[in-house]
Symmetry: C2
Subunit: 347 residues, 2 copies
């Protein structure tokens, strides 16, 4: 299956360079990929030509407009109709591309994705999902910030989408799904998580609901999918990033602090390389906008070509596995049964 | 100033051993410490005698009752009146001890602390505060789980208490206080954090309010105090713990994975020792119940003697600096001004 990916050529700190170089890298894994690349043609043309073969599979569509990194979503929606970000999403709506990838402004990208593509049947609000490393298998974690306030029904929908994602894209046969809470006992947490737990427990979907999990369970890999509201999820993701960064820096400092540290590092370097690869944040780059009626992936704004290629890969895998169709199927069996009806959400 | 610390001899995974050994270690730093030690005398007596000089400064008070680690707070309150935990808190109320330290059930300890000691004037709800390592100075982080749902006024009170703690105990001359949010722009987050921001901005207290901060700011040390609700704070703390544990384990695995790794570790060991010390969770052990009218410190249940000694140290430093009196002063100047009145809280 040939997938065409629409790329926001102007989104991110180091665009368009990393976008073009990332596309070239993604092609190494999937040589049949094709790209629609939106942005400043004068800047992009020369970059594409630096990568052999890329020009043949890439259609550049010129636009002078780009969404500013600090633009409000509402402003971007109003004024960004010809922006590289918006045109990439429009290409998904028009069936010209199977997915859109952008390293630009997250809020603007989500607003445009919802406005242009709408949500999947049965889904009230899309969530941002990412894959995080753990002691065991990688863990699907959502919502990472699309919805600062969530109802129990929203969390239920996130759980269904995360479960399908783990099955379809990560290939987990029977993903275990946990709700993030301050303890594992049934009475912990506020009314929203407790009601969401009841919805998951009582649902006749074949979801392997594992109950409440705590922050430590995310990295422990106790479950395959961790569901939370966008406020907690965003903070959690950034705390994890910050802690990882703190350790990495401190480890570098320790190795550099003395001749013994430096020598020890050189000796142990091959062993440490595996560690670096395992936690390389670039390999986990690419957050899915789950629940959008189309495939949109957000790359970290500060990533490089390797990271941007990961985001493209995430989009392509999502499309290839027909993930959205599976989510629609799953939500369809909720809404046609006498199980909790998301459209009646009032929490 | 001689401080007497009431110890819950039976709380924690490895009590009473680590409690007694922790007390002995804390005495090395502060030889003038005295202890009231509650628990099973038959088990404790012999342990105390293993540490020279400890028996002379320790009064053991026998009680056969202990609060179970999985007891509900309400049950512990009702049935635990003669428990080692409760008697330690009673000793603070009765002026026999300046502080109580327990490695037992957090919910039970908080419920008992509030029931027995009440809250400080101007404080509606106590918060759990801990000190976390960062790239810069250690950061005071609260609430870590006492209040899963918070109003803006609660967050405001947490900010005041955290600021006083950073000044009094950590010795930061002018602590910068941030509100945890999903972004730094004023319009980010839900109504509660935005109202809390307004309370802090408009207050005539001399608090150096730094605005919204994100998860990455906690480890970056952007501010000295980070305030959030107990749900987010609990998840954040455990995500940080989990991420640190994941890295530590992966680093050990990497060093152990080959002869080069093992050799490199041996060579670099002295350089890595500093790293280990800097992030040793035992040295950050001891969470303060800020806002309780008395000093109660919760030790991690799974800690060892070194960690328990840190919790005792945290309690002693808090008492020595007259921190609660300073919080009362600070809150008093809120409630007598025309600034936001916490007692009128309705958020």
């Amino acid at each position: 299956m040939t997938v065409t990916v629409a790329l926001d050529g102007m989104g991110g700190d180091a665009a368009p360079e990393i976008v073009v170089a990332g596309a070239a890298l993604a092609r190494e894994r999937r040589p049949d990929l094709r790209f629609l690349l939106f942005g400043d043609e004068a800047r992009i043309n020369g970059l594409v030509d630096q990568h052999p073969g890329l020009a043949e599979v890439t259609e550049i569509r010129h636009t002078p407009d780009a969404v500013a990194g600090d633009a409000k979503p509402s402003t971007a929606l109003r004024q960004g109709r010809q922006s590289s970000m918006r045109l990439a999403i429009d290409a998904v709506r028009d069936g010209e591309a199977g997915a859109a990838v952008s390293a630009g402004n997250t809020g603007a990208l989500m607003a445009m994705a919802i406005f242009v593509l709408r949500t999947l049947p049965g889904i009230d609000r899309p969530a941002i999902a990412s894959v995080m490393p753990s002691k065991g298998n990688p863990v699907v974690f959502l919502d990472l910030g699309a919805n600062v306030e969530c109802s129990a029904e929203h969390l239920f929908q996130f759980a269904v989408m995360g479960e399908v994602y783990a099955r379809a894209v990560l290939g987990v046969a029977k993903p275990r799904v946990g709700l993030l809470n301050v303890g594992t006992e049934e009475l912990k947490g506020d009314g929203v998580v407790r009601r969401a737990a009841a919805l998951l427990r009582d649902s006749d979907l074949e979801i392997d609901y594992a109950g409440f999990v705590e922050g430590t369970d995310v990295t422990a890999g106790t479950v395959d999918v961790v569901v939370t509201d966008g406020f907690t999820g965003n903070v959690a993701l950034k705390i994890a990033e910050g802690t990882a960064g703190l350790f990495t820096q401190a480890l570098k400092d320790a190795f550099g602090s003395s001749w013994r540290g430096k020598l020890g590092y050189l000796v142990a370097k091959p062993a440490l390389q595996g560690l670096r690869d395992r936690f390389d944040p670039r390999l986990y780059n690419g957050a899915l906008f789950l629940g959008v009626n189309g495939v949109v992936v957000k790359s970290h704004g500060g990533t490089d070509a390797v990271g941007f290629a990961s985001a493209i890969n995430a989009a392509v895998d999502f499309v290839s596995q027909g993930t959205n169709a599976r989510i629609i199927d799953e939500m369809g069996s909720v809404t046609t049964d006498d199980a909790p009806k998301p459209q009646a959400a009032n929490g």
